[in-house]
């Protein structure tokens, strides 16, 4: 406690640069950084007493409607080109391949159920997950290992990465639409599940569990 106060006092000795200057600093750091930058990182890099959160608000507003935007990626910030100008970027796209169905399904399950074990992915997909699929997603840096589950065998879990959020233009995995939204968006068959089966309860239960963790808290 007293340490805290001391530090604060020490910091107040340095006068923070004016907000306009802080905004410039945040702008330069976001521009040059290879990865999205958290507010904490910004605070660590800016001079003492700076308020990067406020500077971000100004900067974000400044870029509204511009060719690039200040976007939130997870709990970090980055500058990205405006989505409507995407057509300017992939003029010279060379070789792009679609992710395999197995990979995209595995990725989807990880995104919606993270942290999730390989066994759980297999349970949801109904087929085994090949090592290659997981390796590919790891290599793309769209998934990474999460903390181990506290269940027998302490299996590793998978979670999605910031790159994943970045790639899919999501601020967080919580932004993924739930089943209900998918359905109302016409992405799912509109037919309600018949009888809402009995054997399905367990499965659905787990699913909803994972999702509630993700979407409802």
């Amino acid at each position: 406690m007293s340490d805290q106060t001391e530090t604060e006092q020490e910091q107040s000795l340095f006068e923070a640069p004016p907000m306009g200057e802080q905004e410039r600093m945040v702008e330069a750091v976001l521009f040059a950084s290879a990865e999205p930058v958290t507010v904490a990182e910004l605070a660590a890099r800016l001079p003492h007493g700076a308020d990067p959160a406020e500077a971000l608000v100004h900067l974000r507003r400044r870029y509204e409607g511009r060719g690039v935007q200040v976007v939130k990626v997870g709990d970090a910030w980055a500058i990205r080109s405006a989505p409507d100008l995407g057509f300017l970027m992939h003029k010279e796209v060379v070789e792009t391949r679609k992710l395999s169905r197995a990979a995209i399904e595995t990725l989807a399950i990880i995104a919606y159920h993270q942290p999730v074990t390989r066994a759980e992915i297999e349970e949801i997909r109904g087929v085994s997950v090949s090592r290659g699929t997981v390796d590919q997603l790891l290599e793309l840096e769209w998934i990474r290992f999460g903390r181990r589950k506290m269940t027998p065998g302490r299996p590793v879990t998978f979670v999605v990465t910031q790159s994943f959020l970045d790639h899919f233009g999501l601020e967080s995995a919580r932004d993924l639409p739930g089943l209900k939204e998918l359905r109302s968006a016409g992405l799912l068959d509109n037919r309600p599940p018949p009888g809402t089966g009995l054997g399905d309860d367990a499965d659905e239960g787990t699913g909803e569990d994972g999702q509630s963790e993700l979407f409802e808290d």
Partner: protein, 262 residues
């Protein structure tokens, strides 16, 4: 020539010390021109006014010293020494209008020019390196987004792909209901097969519900499915003329019996 004897003494003690110091780290110099430039600086004058004659003397003293100390000098140092000795003689002798080649003055001027130019290049090199530099003082975009000239295979997946994939997994049961409900559904074919086997024994009116197999009458879901299947199967059998079918009143039990004339 008295001048000749006199000339070496014209070099001050400090210059001689400097020349001796040069010998110690002759390896530190990038060739004779570099060494000459360093010597020229000891004259503490504008390089354009440097005394080439004095410089030649300094250099020759240096080479003499090095030889005395048995220091191996690279060939180009000796070539320069020979050339400077020649230049010195040219500068000291009165110009001979019949001599061929450039005058001593011209040669000296060019050497001075070379030294000045080398120094100028060093100065601008230092100014260049002192400039703000990319990656040190100013920076390029940390995450270039352009995908031109991508050599790697980039795997694409849109958010739509992702959501559709998830939707597909979560609803695959809905698209294949018989898989999901296999253990709670009785198809008409199943009921028909079962009833064909049993109908031979049904000479009297029997409730179709009695044809429901064991274990299907308790669970309401299974009973509903089995009832529907039995009913459809009964209609099929009646259509085939194998059974007669009747119902006393609305919601009364539906009964069938084997058609007697078959």
């Amino acid at each position: 020539m008295p001048q000749d004897d006199f000339q070496p003494d014209a070099i001050s003690v400090s210059e001689r010390l400097a020349a001796e110091a040069l010998i110690v780290d002759v390896d530190g110099y990038e060739g004779p021109l570099d060494l000459l430039l360093t010597m020229a600086r000891t004259q503490k004058v504008d390089l354009r006014r440097v005394s080439v004659l004095q410089l030649a003397e300094q250099y020759l003293v240096f080479v003499e010293k090095a030889r005395h100390l048995r220091i191996e000098l690279a060939a180009d140092y000796l070539v320069m020494a020979a050339w400077l000795a020649f230049l010195k003689s040219r500068l000291l002798l009165p110009p001979d209008p019949t001599a061929e080649g450039p005058s001593g003055e011209d040669l000296a001027a060019h050497l001075a020019y070379q030294l000045e130019r080398l120094q100028a290049m060093r100065d601008v090199a230092a100014r260049l390196m002192a400039r703000d530099q990319l990656g040190r003082d100013f920076f390029a975009r940390g995450v270039p987004e352009a995908v031109n000239r991508v050599r790697r295979v980039s795997y694409t997946a849109t958010l739509m792909d992702l959501m559709q994939a998830y939707a597909r997994i979560r609803t695959k049961d809905e698209f294949r209901p018989f898989v999901m409900d296999r253990d709670a559904v009785m198809t008409m074919e199943e009921a028909l097969e079962r009833m064909r086997g049993l109908i031979g024994y049904a000479g009297t009116w029997t409730d179709i519900m009695s044809y429901i197999p064991e274990g299907w009458e308790i669970d309401p879901v299974r009973r509903r499915s089995a009832t529907a299947a039995n009913f459809a199967a009964s209609l099929q059998l009646a259509k085939e003329g194998q059974v007669e079918i009747r119902q006393g009143e609305v919601f009364a039990p539906i009964q069938i019996r084997k058609k007697s004339n078959v």
